[in-house]
């Protein structure tokens, strides 16, 4: 199979033809000529795309999903950790749906979808500092610079819309690992995530999206020249994949000029849809726009979308701050799940919600909770996960996962499985050996697969 490089070298006709050829190839499902062309996974799978709702700061499982009624009795008493006292449960819990899923009163809209959720209550990670935890959640490794989950998925599956990046991250944090969380490390540069910094701004805050001087034809002619220069450079250094990344990024940028302004333009959505996502209401406007944009991106064939929300680190002022965060995300996420169902997309879309770790049942001051890497909750929905399920348990007070533990590596292995990959075989050769998302770890948790 000719590589993209070979194609470039053999091409005397310029890049317009090549880009066109790439497009056709994607549509016909034939030879992969661009790093973004659609590829079949190892085995057939339900999940075709992913939306990752990342709650930066570590949300409190005790106040959302992992119901520990004993804490009400123990509130204020010294805990098993010196200097700490148990923190009570400020919010009511109820069982929801046929599945009887426990969800607190902070998430009424999510509770409507209780029967779609697979809530994993026995998560575990290696480190309880934010940066390390957040980077490990995204890349599997806190210690080394490794490709992010989205990059692996894009590398494995390619993407369905050649006019938009296949991996988009909406409002990523610049701290806590910053670009590492959507970086591709040693994977070819084309698989890196593309940030949309601010959905509340024109064109999502993506600058320079339009050329104000050249017609599209003329711009194409000029871009062909740039790409010819790049192809000549590529011949000099055939193994440098960073160069392919630059070449691809130009082609993608060229196509994005038309596609991106369209897809980020939320004005095309009906007033009812916007209201459903909470757009126009102060508390929900920001995250609502992020979710609606994410839905539009998924609909357009983007493979992996990450939506980030910050400020879930509630050491103190839990009552006010956690309520504020939940008010910001609950309605938009409820609307997103409604929309995915209405469009018939939920079945093929894997929805993941979670933070870098969880929190403790006790704290050194009232009205807050501490970091906890030994037990926390994430949930998934759609994409072939078992719906209406609660998986794994923490101990009576929620300090640590005690049954059916799911390490971040296991979560990653399971996510890849849901997308049709054997996580031990989705590898990339670098520095003389094969690398994978799960390093030498990871068990697929078959029990949570529907």
């Amino acid at each position: 199979m000719p590589s993209r490089r070979d194609m470039l070298r053999g091409s005397a006709l310029g890049f317009a033809n090549l880009a066109f050829a790439g497009l056709c190839a994607a549509e016909a499902g034939v030879q992969r000529r661009s790093p973004f062309d659609v590829r079949a996974p190892h085995f057939p799978a339900r999940a075709k795309r992913v939306i990752f709702l990342a709650m930066r700061g570590a949300p409190s499982q005790h106040d959302l999903f992992d119901y520990k009624p004993r804490l009400k009795e123990l509130e204020g008493q010294p805990s098993e950790v010196r200097g700490r006292k148990y923190v009570g449960l400020p919010w009511e819990f109820q069982q929801h749906g046929q599945s009887g899923q426990w969800i607190s009163s902070l998430l009424p809209n999510l509770a409507r979808h209780a029967d779609d959720l697979c809530v994993i209550k026995s998560m575990k990670t290696d480190d309880q500092t934010h940066t390390a935890g957040f980077v490990q959640l995204h890349t599997g490794s806190a210690r080394f610079v490794r490709p992010s989950l989205g990059s692996w998925v894009l590398y494995g599956l390619g993407t369905e819309n050649q006019n938009l990046p296949g991996f988009i991250t909406i409002r990523p944090t610049v701290q806590f690992g910053g670009a590492q969380n959507y970086g591709c490390a040693f994977l070819p540069a084309s698989y890196q995530g593309t940030p949309i910094w601010d959905p509340q701004r024109e064109n999502g805050g993506v600058q320079d999206i339009a050329n104000r001087r050249l017609t599209r034809d003329l711009q194409r002619t000029q871009l062909d020249l740039v790409q010819e220069y790049n192809a000549i450079a590529a011949k000099r250094d055939p193994a440098d994949t960073r160069l392919d990344g630059v070449i691809e990024s130009y082609e993608l940028a060229f196509r994005m000029q038309v596609a991106l302004p369209e897809v980020v333009d939320l004005s095309k959505e009906s007033a009812a849809t916007k209201a459903a996502y909470g757009i126009g209401t102060t508390a929900t406007d920001g995250f609502g726009r992020q979710c609606l944009l994410a839905r539009r991106l998924l609909e357009s064939g983007v493979r992996f979308v990450e939506v980030m929300d910050e400020d879930w680190d509630h050491h103190f002022n839990l009552k006010e701050s956690l309520a504020a965060r939940c008010a910001a995300i609950d309605q938009p996420i409820g609307a997103l799940l409604d929309d995915l169902k209405r469009l018939g997309m939920l079945d093929e879309t894997l929805v993941i919600w979670g933070g870098e770790f969880g929190r403790t049942p006790d704290n050194d001051r009232a009205d807050g909770r501490n970091h906890n890497s030994e037990g926390f909750t994430i949930w998934m929905a759609g994409g072939g996960v078992r719906a209406g399920m609660s998986y794994g348990e923490t101990d009576e007070l929620g300090y640590r996962a005690v049954s059916n533990r799911v390490h971040i590596h296991d979560l990653h292995a399971t996510i890849l499985h849901l997308l049709g990959f054997n996580h031990t075989r989705l590898t990339y050769r670098h520095n003389g050996r094969e690398f994978r998302l799960t390093d030498v770890f990871g068990d697929v948790k078959h029990a949570i697969i529907g």
């Binding site: 890196q192 600058q207 320079d208 017609t215 993608l252 003389g432």
Partner: protein, 571 residues
């Protein structure tokens, strides 16, 4: 080589690398992104220090304890005070109303900055618990905290504490500086009075029911508000020039040790931790009761047997010359960092560095004259297979230009770069993002840097995040970078300027293309590049005969060469 080391451009380049490490910014970030209108003086101090090759041990002492070092002259005193900006420019919890918590947070930020920058070690985790990976205890942390709590930061800001006490900035510039400061402070009093008046009227108006605003009384109030606002603006315009203030630190009158705080909580003080240095590292000098201990901290960091200081700096320099450090995690020499690829080399260079007077310039000279540095950048398939990351230095890996180099090179090729040194980027009352600053003709090191508020250009090209010490920047390849080269007015404008320069030479197309390549890529065009460019020019003729005078086919060629991969990589 020696010419380049002597050039004043050297400090602008290498100083910027240090500013990454020093988390330099001109705004506070965090809870209130107020402007730091005097922070640029620290930036210029750093640039000058690299240009003058201030020995690195001295450089550390100046930044940690410049106020305590002897000075022979007033300008020297000012320079040393400015150096301590390192401890003063970090992000603070401006809206914290509890002084104890505010100062503890500030000390924490200073400990983090100091330990990461000089030791490549994060000590801050030990605030709440003994460090999980490295042998740093809570006691070590509070021993350092005592040093910084015994230090007063002169911010030029009001605290948010009850009564809103003011923390004055330090005045430099001798008698003239003091005179300017007096004028400025007098003006501030009047301005704040006007501000308060306008604020009160605004509140008064806001509290009235909507209907009343139309009544004569409401209208009169509105008129008074308009007048007050106009007065405020007028007074604001009459502001005298900013005096030579610096953000700096001095010792407090009564230095004191810190209590170990359980879980970092200010309301649960434990045993007293005498001011000192992490116990696992070599013992430091004793700290006199009447001193904060910053001077001793600097002495301790730079003793010849300190295992980290020299290695960390040598690694930083290596990293900027080769694109990759001998230790791949330049800010983490702890157990969770990467082990060195060439431990003996790192040690040899570190020993040489401290023995030869901590001269950064000689170290750079030594490395640049090495065979490894002078190796070609050609790829070799077998080596590429086993060591794509070039850990074992089988070639000089092509290095990506950082955001400053890209912009400076664009301006320079276009003949537009001016070697001016602009001063403050933010005035006292505005800390907005300054996207338009890209058009200023100065070098990028002099452009505004907002903490949690970098410009879109800086963000697109992986500028250092000024919330924390950044030894190694990200290196991303995203379509927004391509969009910048294709569509930004800035690149179009530089291409136009370069094209205009070209047509002043009366030469044929071949020579003109060669001139572009030599100017932009510092090399001649290869035959196939020439041919491609000719084909492009020909195609353009058929495609679009109508081009404006300022916007010619040559503009497009210049832009294409700027956009080419070879412009962005140094080989």
């Amino acid at each position: 080589m020696d010419r380049l080391l002597r050039s004043p451009r050297f400090g602008e380049r290498w100083g910027r690398h240090w500013l990454d490490v020093a988390r330099y910014a001109e705004t506070n970030g965090r809870d209130q992104n107020a402007a730091y209108p005097h922070a640029w003086r620290y930036r210029d101090y750093v640039i000058d220090a690299f240009n003058n090759d201030v020995p690195y041990d001295r450089f550390i002492a100046e930044q940690l304890a410049g106020d305590l070092l002897p000075a022979k002259s007033e300008p020297e005193r000012d320079r040393l005070m400015t150096a301590t900006g390192f401890l003063a420019i970090g992000g603070k919890l401006m809206f914290e109303s509890n002084p104890e918590r505010f100062f503890m947070e500030m000390a924490d930020e200073q400990i983090q900055a100091t330990s990461l920058a000089f030791m490549g070690l994060s000590v801050a985790c030990a605030r709440c618990h003994d460090h999980k990976f490295d042998p740093i205890t809570s006691r070590d942390y509070y021993a350092l905290a005592g040093i910084f709590r015994s230090t007063d930061v002169r911010m030029g800001f009001e605290y948010y504490f009850p009564g809103r006490p003011y923390s004055p900035a330090v005045i430099t510039g001798g008698a003239e500086g003091r005179k300017m400061a007096e004028a400025h402070e007098a003006h501030q009093v009047i301005f704040k009075q006007a501000q308060r008046e306008a604020g009160q009227l605004r509140n008064e108006l806001r509290q009235r029911p909507a209907g009343e605003r139309e009544a004569p009384e409401g209208k009169a109030l509105q008129r008074r508000l308009d007048e007050a606002q106009a007065r405020q603006i007028a007074i604001g315009k009459e502001a005298p020039p900013l005096p030579p203030y610096v953000m700096a630190v001095v010792d407090r009158d009564k230095p004191a040790d810190c209590h170990v705080l359980e879980k970092g909580e200010i309301d649960s003080p434990g045993e007293l931790a005498p001011r000192g240095f992490p116990a696992v590292l070599p013992r430091g000098p004793g700290i006199p009761a009447n001193a904060s201990g910053r001077l001793q901290l600097a002495q301790w960091l730079t003793r010849p047997d300190h295992p980290l200081t020299a290695r960390v700096m040598v690694n930083r320099i290596w990293l900027h010359l080769f694109g990759r450090g001998l230790v791949d995690t330049p800010d983490n020499f702890g157990t969770t960092g990467s082990p060195p690829s060439h431990p003996e080399l790192l040690d040899e260079l570190a020993i040489r560095f401290s023995e030869k007077g901590w001269s950064v310039k000689s170290l750079i000279r030594d490395i640049v004259l090495s065979r490894a540095y002078q190796a070609g950048s050609d790829a070799d398939a077998a080596n590429q297979e086993t060591d794509a990351a070039n850990v074992y230095l089988w070639r000089m890996a092509p290095r990506r230009l950082d955001s400053e180099a890209i912009r400076d090179a664009l301006l320079s090729c276009a003949g537009r770069l001016e070697f001016t040194k602009p001063e403050s980027s933010f005035n006292e009352r505005s800390s907005n993002v300054q996207d338009g600053s890209i058009f200023r003709p100065c070098r990028s090191v002099y452009l505004p840097v907002g903490r949690e508020n970098v410009t879109s250009y800086q963000r697109t090209f992986d500028f250092a995040d000024p919330t924390t010490c950044t030894g190694l920047r990200n290196e991303t390849t995203v379509p927004s970078q391509a969009l910048f080269f294709m569509n930004s007015f800035f690149v179009q404008q530089q291409s136009e300027f370069l094209a205009k320069l070209l047509i002043t030479f009366n030469e044929d197309d071949d020579a003109r293309i060669q001139r572009i390549f030599r100017t932009v890529l510092s090399r001649p065009a290869a035959p196939e590049e020439l041919a491609a460019t000719h084909r492009f020019l020909k195609k353009l003729q058929s495609q679009s005969p109508a081009m404006s005078r300022s916007f010619t086919p040559w503009t497009l060629v210049c832009q294409a060469v700027f956009g080419s991969n070879d412009f962005r990589y140094l080989r």
